[in-house]
C-alpha cells in the first residue's frame, strides 16, 4: 500500500461485557471478553475483510471502531487522531466521516418514515442544509444507489430486501463519510439479489474513494470484495494477510479449516475437507494458551500453555500460531 498514514489504526482493542457484577458474598464476577486485544490498520481506499464465525467478535470490533460501543482497553486512531476517549461533542464531527450499514434491511429502517426522511435523517441530525437542499441531496443519493428518485415518498415496506439495503447504503452515504463499516450487508438477501448489492458496493468504493471494513462470514464474498483479510476466532485475530496470500496459502489451521469447509458450486471437485471437532468454546471461559487448541488438528504441547502472538511471518502476512513462530522458520510450515 501507500506510504501515507492509514485511515484507521487499531491497537490492543478490547471489549469486556460484565454479565454479572461480583458480590462480596462470594458470587463471582462474570465477564465476557468479546474482543481480546485486536490490532489492525486500514489504509485509505482499502477494503479490509473481517471474517469469522458467530461469537468471534467481528461485529463488536466494527461497533467499537465507530464508538457505538465503548472499548474497555486499546487505542483507535482515525485519520491520525485518537478517538477512544473523545467526549461525545468532540466525537461528533468525526462521526460524519464514519458510517455503518447493518445486516438486517428490515429491522434497521423505521417503518413509519418515508425513504426521504430516512436518508435525510443524518443531515438533519448534523444540521446540514435547509429542507430544499436536503431533498435535492436525497434524490442524488437515491440515484447513486440505483433507486428511482421518484420513490422518495414511499415507506420501507414497499421495497424488497435488496432495495431496502440500498436505502440503508444511501443513508450511510448522506454525510459523505470516508469509512463505511459494512456488517454482513448482503447476508439477509436472496442469492440472486446479493450480486446487485455487492456490485454497488464495489462501484461506490471506486467512485467515492471509500474505505471499508467489511464484516462477513462468507469467505467467497470476502475474497471478491477485499484487499486484505483478518480472520477472528474467539475475540482474537488469528491471521491477517493480503487476500491473495490468505486464499492461496492460509497458514493458521483455523483459516485452513474454514476455507476447506465451504461447499463450492463445482460438483465432482475433490477437495480435502478439514472437519473440525467440537464446538467453539464459550467466550466466558476461553481455553488457556492458544484459544483454538481444543479444536486444532495440529495442536502441540506448547499450544495448551502459551498464547501465540500475532507475528509477521512474511511481508504483510501475520499469523498467531506456534507452527509459525517467525519469519526465519519457513520450514515449520504445514
Amino acid at each position: 500500500m501507500s506510504a501515507a498514514a492509514p485511515l484507521v489504526e487499531v491497537e490492543g482493542l478490547t471489549k469486556s461485557f460484565v454479565l454479572r457484577r461480583g458480590s462480596g458474598l462470594g458470587r463471582p464476577r462474570l465477564e465476557l471478553q468479546a474482543v481480546a486485544g485486536v490490532s489492525f490498520t486500514i489504509d485509505r481506499g482499502e477494503t479490509l475483510g473481517l471474517v469469522g464465525e458467530s461469537g468471534c467478535g467481528k461485529t463488536t470490533t466494527g461497533r467499537l471502531l465507530l464508538r457505538l460501543l465503548e472499548p474497555t482497553a486499546g487505542t483507535i486512531r482515525f485519520a491520525g487522531r485518537e478517538i477512544q476517549r473523545l467526549a461525545e461533542a468532540e466525537l461528533r464531527p468525526l462521526r460524519r466521516k464514519m458510517q455503518i450499514v447493518f445486516q438486517d434491511p428490515y429491522g434497521s429502517l423505521d417503518p413509519r418514515m418515508t425513504v426521504e426522511e430516512i436518508v435525510a435523517e443524518p443531515l438533519v441530525v448534523h444540521g446540514i442544509g435547509d429542507r430544499a437542499e436536503r431533498a435535492r441531496k436525497v434524490r442524488l443519493l437515491l440515484d447513486r444507489v440505483g433507486l428511482p428518485a421518484a420513490w422518495a415518498d414511499r415507506h420501507p415496506h414497499e421495497f424488497s430486501g435488496g432495495q431496502r439495503q440500498r436505502i440503508g447504503i444511501a443513508r450511510a452515504l448522506a454525510l459523505e463519510p470516508e469509512l463505511l463499516v459494512l456488517d454482513e450487508p448482503v447476508s439477509a438477501l436472496d442469492v440472486s439479489i446479493r450480486a446487485q448489492v455487492v456490485n454497488l458496493l464495489v462501484d461506490l468504493a471506486r467512485d467515492l474513494g471509500l474505505t471499508y471494513l467489511f464484516i462477513s462470514h462468507d469467505l467467497a464474498l470476502v475474497r471478491h470484495l477485499c484487499d486484505r483479510v483478518a480472520v477472528m476466532y474467539l475475540g482474537k485475530i488469528v491471521e491477517l494477510a493480503p487476500k491473495d496470500a490468505l486464499y492461496r496459502e492460509p497458514l493458521h489451521p483455523y483459516t485452513r479449516a474454514l476455507l476447506s469447509a465451504i461447499p463450492v458450486p463445482r460438483p465432482g471437485r475433490k477437495r480435502e475437507r478439514i472437519v473440525l471437532p467440537g464446538d467453539v468454546p464459550s467466550p466466558l471461559r476461553p481455553p488457556p494458551g492458544c484459544r483454538f487448541h481444543t479444536r486444532c488438528p495440529r495442536a502441540m504441547e506448547v499450544c495448551r500453555a502459551v498464547e501465540p502472538p500475532l507475528l509477521e511471518v512474511r511481508p504483510g502476512h501475520r499469523v498467531a500460531c506456534h507452527l509459525h513462530p517467525g519469519p526465519t522458520s519457513e520450514g515449520a510450515r504445514a
Binding site: A220, R223, L276
Partner: protein, 335 residues
Amino acid sequence: MSAGERTPILSVRALTTELRTEGGRFHAVDSVSFDLFPGEVLGIVGESGCGKSMTALSILGLVPRPPGRIVAGEVRFEGRDLVRLPERELQRVRGAKIAMIFQEPMSSLNPVFTIGEQIAETLRHHERLGRRAARERAVELLAKVGIPSPAERLDSYPHELSGGMRQRVMIAIALACNPKVLLADEPTTALDVTIQAQILDLLQRLQAELGMAVVLITHDLGIVAEFAHRVLVMYAGRVIEEGPVEAIFESPAHPYTQGLLASLPDLEGEIGRLSAIPGSVPQMGELGPGCRFAPRCGLVEPACLAADPPLARTGARAVACRRADLAAAPRERVA
C-alpha cells in the same frame, strides 16, 4: 445413473398447494412433479418463497391449514397416495417411514422435555418400545449421530446444547425408526460453517450407511453441488430445471439457473464483476400468465409473456424455458 430403469420410492405428481393471504390466493407450490429414487440425494434449490419448503411440508401433510391447502396432485409412496391418506394413517408414515429435519432445531424440540424423553417418545409411538428399551435405543442413536457421552446427554434440555448438537439430536430423532426417506429442510443454514461441515459430513455418512433417500432443501448451491446427486431448481412455486448435478452445474439450461450460478463469488479463479440478475424475486400475488422469470430474463420474447412454459424433458434433464434447447448445446445458445 439410469433413472428410467429404477423404481422411485417417492413420486410427486402435479402437487399444488394453495396459500391464502391478505393479498389473495396463490399457488405456493404449483404443479410440482418429481421422482425420488432409493439411496439418492435429491437437492431442491431456490430462493426464499420459491416453494421448496412448502413442497416438503406438502409431502408430509404438514402445511398449516389455514392458510394452506393442497388443491391438486399426488404423492405416491409405497403404493399409496399420501395426499388422500387419512390423518391417522399419515401419522404412521410421518416420522417413521418419512422423517423430516428443519433449519432451526430449537423450534422443533420441546424446551420443557429432556432430549432423552423426546427421542423415547418417537420410539414408543412408532416402535412401541418399552421405557427401558426406548432409553437404550436413544443412547445408541445419540452415539450414532456423534454426541459425546450420550448416556449423560439424555438428561439434558435443548437449551443446554449448542446449535450443532441440537441439530444432531434432531437427526437422531429423525433416524429413530429407520426411515426410508429423509426430508432435510435447510438443515445447516442456522449453523456456522465449521459446524455445518460436521453436520453435512454426518448426514452424508448416515445416508450411505442406512441407504436412505434424502431430499436436501437449500438455497446454497455449494451444498447442492457437493452433496446431491440430482437437483431440482425452483422459482416462484414451479420447478424450472431438473437434472443430474454435474450436468446442471456444467451447462445450466434455464436462464435463471445460469444467472444464479454466474452471480456467485468464487473461492478461486479470476475475480471479475459479479454478474447480477436484475430485478427482484416476484411477489406471488403479482404473477402474470407467462413465464415467471420473464420480467428478469435477458432472453425474453413476447411469446414468453403469453404462456408459462411446461417442464420439457430430454433424457435425464428437464427445463421449463422456451428459449432453452437441451439437445442443442444449451450453454452456447443461451449464455
